[in-house]
């Protein structure tokens, strides 16, 4: 039964224009386990994460997340899946606090008074809570995106190069957050160039090359 699998991809392919970003990919990730996604730039990592997040849908094949078909079950899935990726989803002209508080209200948690403040505190953004995101550095934007993911407390966490813009302290904090999510039973899919680090944090590995699954060299 696919309920046992957090993510189940059966022969999925994704095309953009004339280019196949993902080609006939199949894999499964059991519930509560963590997957390391590796591969060069352009190998399809970001595309795959966006498919699992239901931001995009496979051109062919079947993708199931938490037992639901990604395309037809998207409304059931979205509350339980969160993505931190290159596109931060922030509104540049709103402050960090306003951005987070907006998400909180959409999640029906607008009534929790300390929620936003605590998350900002945890991610080290309290001092700049009221500055517009436009003035944020890349690292701060990433931390804000992670704060949003933590607020959602998803069952499947999708992290696309989360260490990218972070300093060593930030990287340490990120590792701690990943372990915490894993401790809560969240299934994690982590895409990163830092292979050693990634291997220490995950149980399984999927290496992509030109959109296909290959054995890592």
């Amino acid at each position: 039964m696919s309920e046992q699998l957090a993510v189940e991809a059966v022969d999925i392919s994704k095309r953009f224009g004339a280019r196949w970003a993902l080609a006939r990919l199949s894999f499964g990730l059991p519930l509560g386990r963590s997957l390391l996604l590796t591969g060069h730039n352009g190998s399809g990592k970001t595309t795959l994460l966006r498919l699992i997040a239901t931001a995009s849908f496979p051109t062919a094949g079947t993708l199931r997340v938490l037992g639901h078909d990604a395309r037809t079950g998207r409304d059931q899935l979205r509350p339980f899946v969160a993505l931190v990726s290159h596109a931060s989803f922030h509104y540049e002209d709103l402050s960090a606090a306003q951005n987070l508080s907006l998400s909180a209200k959409f999640l029906g948690r607008g009534g929790e008074p300390k929620l936003v403040a605590e998350l900002l505190e945890r991610m080290g953004l309290s001092e700049r809570a009221d500055s517009p995101v436009r003035q944020f550095s890349a690292g701060m934007r990433k931390r804000l995106a992670i704060a949003r993911l933590l607020m959602k407390a998803p069952r499947v966490a999708l992290l696309d190069e989360p260490f990218g813009e972070l300093d060593p302290a930030g990287i340490k904090q990120m590792e701690g957050i990943i372990r915490e999510l894993q401790g809560q039973g969240t299934s994690v899919v982590l895409a990163t160039h830092l292979v050693e680090q990634g291997l220490s944090l995950t149980n399984e590995r999927l290496h992509l090359e030109a959109g296909r699954k290959v054995a890592p060299s």
Binding site: A55, F57, F89, Y91, D93, F106, G108
Partner: protein
Amino acid sequence: MTPKISLLAAAWLVLKKDWQIEWRTRARLTAIIFFSLSTLLLFSFAMGPDVTTLRAHAPGYLWLALLFASVLSLGESFRIESENQALTGLVLTPVEPRAIFVGKVFGNASLLFVLSLVLLPVTVALYDVDLSRDPLRLVLVLFLGSVGISAPGTVYSAISANARARDVMLPLLLFPVLMPLLLAAVSATKFTLQPDPQEQVDSWLKLLTAFDLIYLSVGFLLFPKVAEED
């Protein structure tokens, strides 16, 4: 899966969010107002100083100025959503795309409505119109017209925001569809500013309302196809 908040509540949040952003970037708003003022003045220069002609055609000038301003404001409305893929972020939160549509339409419409009110005293100064004849209906026409521009405008703006040549794509797609709206809005405005012997104004108001309802419904149905992939 029951959504956490209702569609109307989500639409209201989207609307407030847009108002917040407009307020925070109010320099841009001011620029649009001055752009519209310049447009109105340009019409006076183009048409010449004959006050009788200017007064007669004032409704046309007002609505044309609003139309041109709408291209700017509609374009901006989705530029903020494509920066950082914020629209996708909303959809994944999850927020129902239909709620986003309703929120954005009324956000755009309220902006145009406020702009139209700001332009009214200018039309008095430039074209010598009489606002006191039927002010309530005038305000109603301005509101219905603003909604009428925003309903198809929001859908087309979402499409153009991601297309190439986006600057020209929006007016190219939007203007043909707005022609009947322009006719109805200008005619209705005319009869709130001038005598209405055949009592036409209510018929034009009905046409405006019909346009609004049709495009709100069609937009409501079709916007999800544009907001996310299928």
